[in-house]
């Protein structure tokens, strides 16, 4: 270790897991950097699910508080910090929506959201974003399957709720969700789990 010395990095350049550790440790500087890095993502997920900016901010704040309290439970083997955080905020938002139901999902809003998610501008492709494969796969789904999987994944709607909204049998809604997820999963480069 002789000759080694610390080169202080600004918090903005620290990796996500380091910022999360700092958040959990109560380091105000790292906590602020963590909030700044993820607030657009966290608020974006909350807003997409609940559709109300005031409620979405409350949920986003709860998500950061939960990340702070449970930073020690983050396991990098299970996924990225962003995945962990979006999972937290998605569940908080879906819980909030379930309390308010029945609140119908506007079909126009749903189509607009799907169009946004499946947008793959050239800059993204050129940048080699890993999400491009998933966006492309979602865009390639039959519209009814795309609607079903987005209603479930984003709005937390059950097959029964999707069936009611779409005017289809519950079994059909389940089939659409299952087929869509199988196609999306197959499109990702991760190894498939073959079991049956």
């Amino acid at each position: 270790m002789r000759g080694v010395h610390l080169r202080r990095r600004p918090p903005e350049r620290l990796p996500d897991d380091m910022l999360l550790a700092g958040l959990g440790a109560g380091d105000a500087q790292l906590a602020l950097a963590f909030v700044r890095r993820f607030q657009r993502t966290v608020f974006g997920v909350a807003l997409a699910v609940v559709g109300d900016s005031g409620l979405a901010e409350d949920i986003a704040q709860q998500a950061f508080e939960r990340a702070w309290r449970h930073a020690g439970l983050y396991d990098p083997r299970r996924g990225s910090v962003q995945t962990w955080l979006t999972s937290i905020v998605r569940h908080l938002a879906v819980d909030a929506v379930r309390v308010r139901r029945p609140a119908p999902v506007d079909p126009q809003d749903l189509m607009s959201l799907i169009a946004t998610i499946t947008d793959t501008p050239e800059r993204r492709v050129l940048a080699g974003e890993t999400s491009t494969e998933l966006r492309t796969a979602l865009a390639a789904l039959p519209p009814e399957q795309a609607r079903a999987v987005v209603m479930a994944a984003v709005h937390g709607m059950t097959a029964v709720e999707i069936a009611d909204l779409e005017g289809i049998p519950v079994g059909t809604a389940k089939s659409r969700i299952r087929a869509a997820m199988a196609k999306l999963h197959a499109a990702l480069p991760t190894p498939r789990a073959d079991h049956g």
Partner: protein, 229 residues
């Protein structure tokens, strides 16, 4: 409750991964997963896909005061002294809650008893200390004494410095001098983080240290203890 076959569980796997499987179906699927590694793997893979789907949602800018609101919420006033005696009692309860959570806490957080008490928050607070060698800081050591407990090292070695890549052992030292091995840490130029699980007791932890192949301690982090009242 009837036990599901693998085929029946596979048919429910997508909804389970999306966390939209209600009531009895969910209970039956979870019961099957408890004893079926293959179906667990399928659901885990689909869960990863569901998580990535949510990550596609577009970001959005919150209002101007949002950042300050969050930072205020993340810095609550310290708990009154009179309540600190509950720390030891709460620790046992917290350990049980956290032991059943892990990563899944984020997915199933709505099922957990909430909110966490001040005393619980005190117990789970991450400990950290500068990691130094020859009075020079080379990074920071973070120790989380909860369940599961872990150690995280942030090392920052200047690119201009001639330091050969090597590996060192990381171990924790208790106040009584006994040690807890943590793992082997690769040392290289630049910034890198390294972490691993380790049995940690907040009350007895004294030091984290890095030991080279010759058995010499090359860096240490001394943890200060805040005396409980």
């Amino acid at each position: 409750m009837a036990e599901l076959t693998c085929q029946q569980c596979q048919e429910l796997a997508a909804e389970l991964a999306l966390d939209v499987l209600p009531g009895r179906d969910r209970a039956e699927a979870l019961a099957h997963l408890d004893g079926c590694a293959g179906c667990r793997e399928t659901v885990a893979a689909l869960t990863a896909t569901a998580d990535r789907l949510v990550e596609l949602l577009p970001g959005a800018e919150p209002s101007a005061g949002f950042e300050q609101r969050v930072m205020t919420a993340l810095a609550p006033p310290p708990p009154p002294r009179a309540r600190r005696w509950r720390v030891a009692v709460a620790a046992a309860g917290l350990a049980i809650v956290l032991a059943t959570g892990g990563w899944m806490l984020g997915r199933a957080s709505h099922d957990l008893p909430q909110p966490e008490t001040d005393a619980q928050a005190d117990v789970r607070t991450v400990m950290f200390a500068p990691l130094t060698t020859e009075n020079r800081q080379i990074g920071e050591a973070y120790v989380y004494p909860g369940q599961p407990s872990w150690v995280y090292l942030a090392l920052d070695i200047d690119n201009d410095t001639d330091v050969p890549s090597s590996t060192v052992r990381c171990e924790l030292v208790r106040r009584d001098g006994s040690t807890v091995p943590v793992g082997t840490v690769p040392i290289a130029k630049g910034y890198r983080g390294w972490g691993g699980p380790a049995a940690v007791d907040r009350e007895t932890l004294a030091t984290a240290r890095l030991i080279n192949s010759n058995g010499h301690t090359v860096a240490t982090a001394h943890f200060r203890h805040t005396r409980r009242r």
